[in-house]
Symmetry: C2
Subunit: 150 residues, 2 copies
DNA sequence: TAAACAATTGCAACAAAATTGCGTTTATAT
DNA sequence: ATATAAACGCAATTTTGTTGCAATTGTTTA
């Protein structure tokens, strides 16, 4: 609904050589509007019949390949999607921040300022490291509140 | 096929109050025989029609609940299973080791002796931590060899 | 050793998640 | 305005996982 944001999203599509379509802008809008990563089922539920299931899958895949969003698999194996903050591109993702997966609501939060340590991993011979990811589990802010109230 | 191992597996079932059945022993045998974690599709493929799909799911679920095996979701969202080494039980899992997910063959390796650092995570207010897991991605030993040869 | 009984399994049906092929529509460049 | 590749919608299929129920089986006990 926000015009500034709409222009921003349109620019994002153009920058990545993607056509400006209603479906794509809709997905970008949904992702913008949620504090946590959006799960595939959630997105699908929100858009309803406005966007065909297959189209949605293709949009998410394209966005991921272009480095616009990144996919986070939660503890149940469900795909969640969030905007990339860093300089991710078609060639490589650089989303090396903490992901927090709530055990209660299952939401996945991207946490940028939990400063993660740098250290040497002691891998077995022959194993070469490309990326190390950190996944925290616990209760998110909302769900912690709910527990207190009981 | 190994008699020692068979007895060991039977004892494991008895210890956990589970009946000794062919299907369960078969699953334990498969898990024993693979250096990496076994994916659900792999196991299903290996057992073929010997074990009904539903039975397999139930066996894996039971084993996980009893603390016999733990589930690792890989980067594609596929469930992988491996024996628990530590003192996991019906009540809690303690599989806090590194998981290595190969980008080429997708296999998941449990790596016990990659000493992971202890440190304080800086979580946003209201977020409470239960567990932190480390997932490395890269090429496993086998797949590294394959690349060299080309 | 035979009966008893709960645990385990197999089958059928269903649901959700994801993919493929193909014909049609549409955004954009010329 | 037109051409064209990109994007989309629809149908069909595959994979993954679940539920209910009846039949079977492992173990306990008499
Ligand atoms: Mn993230
Ligand atoms: Mn493990
Ligand atoms: Zn939560
Ligand atoms: Zn590999």
């Amino acid at each position: 609904m926000n015009t500034d944001q709409l222009n921003q999203h349109e620019a994002l599509l153009v920058k990545n050589g993607l056509k400006k379509t209603g479906a794509r802008l809709r997905v970008l809008d949904i992702l913008s509007g949620s504090e946590a990563a959006a799960s595939q089922p959630d997105i699908e539920h929100v858009v309803g019949k406005d966007i065909d299931r297959v189209t949605l899958y293709r949009i998410l895949k394209t966005f991921e390949e272009k480095g616009i969003i990144h996919r986070i698999i939660d503890n149940q194996g469900t795909a969640n999607y969030a905007f990339c903050h860093n300089n991710c591109s078609e060639h490589a993702h650089h989303d090396e921040h903490l992901h927090f997966n709530c055990v209660n609501c299952q939401k996945v939060y991207c946490i940028d300022n939990a400063h993660l340590p740098h250290f040497k991993l002691n891998l077995p011979p022959g194993f070469s490291l490309q990326q190390l990811s950190f996944v925290a589990t616990g209760r998110c802010e909302n769900c912690s509140k709910l527990t207190e109230q009981k």
